[in-house]
């Protein structure tokens, strides 16, 4: 078939062009042959074009229901809604790898289109690293996971997309994650280039700062969108279950967060040079690991390695990246020793170091927990996985400690501060935290850790507000501006600082959401017949109506739903319609939850069972404060935009 042949051919050419780009830019920079580097640059523009061509062809095949192509057969059907055909693109390993290659090629293309400025020396080596990564994915796509592979016969109908993935958030979640993974490749490529050229001053961090911030924020948003999907679609009332797929994207985020923070130290104090190079590399390697884990089934079983050799290739590329970077790091010890010295135990440098170690520690802990079933299966032959409570036990305290440091760190001076001075700056926050705790206890909050969590949040919020107020007051005094002008100018003159503070604030909102929903989730199992009412959690639910159908042989999907009116205090709030649908391509029913949110809590209704005569079993969950997670996500985007916005161009 012509289209799939061209798609595969484009992948072959991508591999050749990427390999040429890697060799050309490397040799060109080494032997000072600018024409080779120019040729490599063209090759990278070519890979961007060719991978776009492959991606478009796969989309065309998916939309034209060309079931001769195995990937199309497995992921779409004639009755799948067009919007979800898009989701089918990244529903499998083949499609996701193509998506990653495509995004990486696009970003690389954008990078080389811009004239080199600060990175004149570094760019060819960064191009080589990016090209090699592209070649790696192209090779995997060609040899093991060809999305254009044909079936021997042409089936009349496709298997269709897993109904759990038929959700708006599943259309956008994977692309966000893969954009983030592709973006993380760029800091890694420059870390490699800095090592090769020996230009290990803060230049590469400064130059890649926006890429790094974009990668970091995109990954965070991707994780939140994934959580939102799980909350809406999986129907167990939670948004995070510490399952391997979720963990695998959280691990690079944790290491990436450590990186984002330690870059500040190198830029301000010229410390942690080697540390930054390693963190950038580790984050990249972990994104590769995450893709592999998510799609290969390694965590479910070590036998995934036996089933397909692709696992060894992933492992090989991860090891290759690590070994090369560590080897270069050892060879560059002289250039890697910065001038800054770690000062006093009570200094901002030291607190940053502690923060870094905590992030890495939590990443290592989550990684260990994720791989635990694999270890136990390899050693004892039986896979035992860790439940969410195991993760909560160590990630809860670690997380709170990190949050607390957000509130303390800005008050500690660089180099040193005396304990007495620090206390002088801290007492307001301590009072605020203490009052918060007392008020919560007075109003009936009894869970100790929830009180602690909210008190810590109040402490940090007080620091952020006080710092902001100090900056604004200083402007009002010295520049004689009113509050509004002073606020606007303070933020626009110091975007990095205030953008960062806003991001910290968004993390607080997320902590509030997590604490509220963890501590006060309430759940009721409610059997109802039509026209019956029940009161749960302050709401009155009246079961009004239902539709019930059996699945027919050739039917795509049968929608079974119950209709409930929700009242609160005698006033009707909303009508909700939880569903329990049957799909021809999966066993059993798939629930679609009904959700009613406000700032205080979510009412979450699951249709757990429905009889032909209308007798229904509902699972009603009241989840306090969950909406703050998503509001936090929006604030995080705003903060990142402020922090990364290019400064106004100065006149020459």
């Amino acid at each position: 078939l012509v289209l799939s042949d061209i798609g595969y051919g484009a992948l072959l050419l991508t591999l050749v062009a990427a390999l040429w780009a890697a060799v050309g830019s490397g040799v060109g920079a080494w032997r000072r042959r600018p024409e080779l580097v120019a040729s490599a640059r063209n090759a990278l523009l070519v890979t961007a074009g060719l991978s776009t061509l492959s991606a478009i062809l796969l989309l065309v095949l998916l939309y034209s229901h060309d079931f001769e192509v195995s990937y199309v057969y497995e992921h779409v059907s004639t009755y799948l809604k067009p919007a979800y055909v898009l989701a089918a693109f990244w529903a499998g390993l083949e499609g996701s790898q193509l998506l990653w290659l495509w995004m990486l090629a696009i970003f690389t293309g954008l990078l080389v289109l811009r004239r080199p400025t600060w990175d004149r020396e570094l760019r060819p080596y960064a191009m080589a690293a990016l090209a090699l990564t592209q070649a790696f994915f192209a090779l995997l796509l060609i040899v093991f996971t060809n999305p254009f592979e044909l079936l021997p016969t042409i089936p009349a109908e496709g298997v269709s997309l897993n109904p759990l993935l038929q959700n708006f958030w599943m259309i956008i979640h994977p692309p966000i994650i893969f954009v983030a993974y592709a973006l993380w490749t760029i800091p890694f490529a420059y870390a490699f280039a800095a090592l090769v050229t020996g230009r290990l001053d803060a230049g590469w961090l400064h130059g890649t700062r926006r890429w790094t911030l974009a990668a970091w924020a995109t990954l965070g948003i991707g994780i939140l969108v994934g959580a939102w999907w799980a909350y809406l679609e999986l129907g167990w009332g939670g948004y995070w279950g510490w399952d391997p797929v979720e963990n695998s994207s959280l691990i690079p985020w944790l290491v990436g967060t450590a990186f984002v923070h330690s870059t500040i130290i190198q830029q301000r104090r010229d410390m942690f040079r080697a540390w930054n190079v390693l963190l950038a590399t580790l984050t990249f390697v972990l994104t590769v690991f995450a893709t592999f884990v998510t799609r290969s089934g390694l965590i479910q079983s070590v036998h995934a390695f036996a089933q397909s050799p692709i696992g060894w290739y992933y492992l090989g590329y991860m090891l290759l990246s690590l070994v090369v970077v560590i080897g270069l790091t050892l060879a560059r010890q002289r250039e890697l020793s910065g001038e800054g010295q770690l000062g006093d135990l009570l200094s901002r440098e030291f607190v940053f170091l502690v923060t870094n170690l905590l992030f890495l520690g939590s990443a290592a802990a989550v990684l260990l927990g994720t791989l635990w079933p694999t270890f136990t299966e390899a050693v004892r032959g039986v896979a035992t996985s860790l439940g969410p409570e195991n993760y909560d036990r160590f990630m809860g305290p670690l997380g709170l400690l990190l949050i607390l440091l957000i509130g303390i760190c800005p008050l500690i001076d660089w180099r040193e501060i005396s304990g007495r001075q620090l206390l002088g700056k801290l007492w307001v926050q301590v009072v605020v935290a203490f009052l918060t705790a007392v008020l919560l206890v007075v109003f009936g909050v009894r869970e100790a850790w929830a009180v602690v969590s909210f008190a810590v949040t109040a402490f940090v919020a007080a620091t952020i507000v006080l710092q902001m107020a100090l900056g604004i007051r200083a402007r009002m005094r010295t520049a004689k501006e009113n509050v509004v002008v002073a606020t606007g100018r303070a933020v626009s003159m110091n975007r990095r600082r205030y953008g960062g503070q806003l991001i910290h604030f968004s993390i607080l909102l997320i902590v509030i959401g997590i604490t509220g929903s963890k501590a006060y989730q309430n759940e009721w199992q409610v059997p109802l017949a039509v026209a019956e009412s029940i009161e749960v959690g302050g709401y009155t639910l009246t079961y009004q109506d239902y539709t019930y159908q059996e699945l027919e042989d050739d039917g795509a999907k049968v929608r079974n739903q119950a209709v409930l009116d929700v009242y609160r205090g005698g006033r009707k709030l909303v009508t909700v319609r939880p569903e329990r649908n049957l799909h021809s391509n999966v066993q059993g029913a798939v629930t679609e939850v009904a959700l009613h949110s406000n700032l205080k809590e979510d009412l979450y209704v699951i249709l757990a069972g429905l009889d032909p005569d209308g007798l229904a079993a509902f699972q009603v969950i009241v989840n306090p404060l969950v909406i703050w997670l998503w509001i936090g996500g929006a604030v995080l985007i705003a903060g990142t935009l402020i922090a990364a916005w290019p400064p106004r161009r100065r006149r020459r």
Partner: protein, 115 residues
Amino acid sequence: VGIAIFFLLALIVAGFILYPLLPGRAPAPEVLAVTDGAIEQAVRDMRRSRSRPGLNCPACGKGYQVGDHFCVRCGSALPQAASPGLVCPSCSTTLEEGDRFCAKCGHQVDSAEVA
């Protein structure tokens, strides 16, 4: 048809990639501009040369730099005589402690003259 399109595509791609390698197409060797990193390094070096060891606030002990009038930590006035005297009497270039000749004009620096 597929194979024909593939070879056509391959040909275009190869042409585009190899075009810069044609004789006469080589870009002019790039002049290495001063990088941000180099500028930052120079600024750091200048800063370091301004802050000499032994310049500490007499009230609280915090280090300060040549030209500072007040301590950044405790606010007390800093002794002024120690710093701005070290200039060449002939051409006003800043001198390092212990210099016997001005690095710029070669004027012999008499320690009494500078103090």
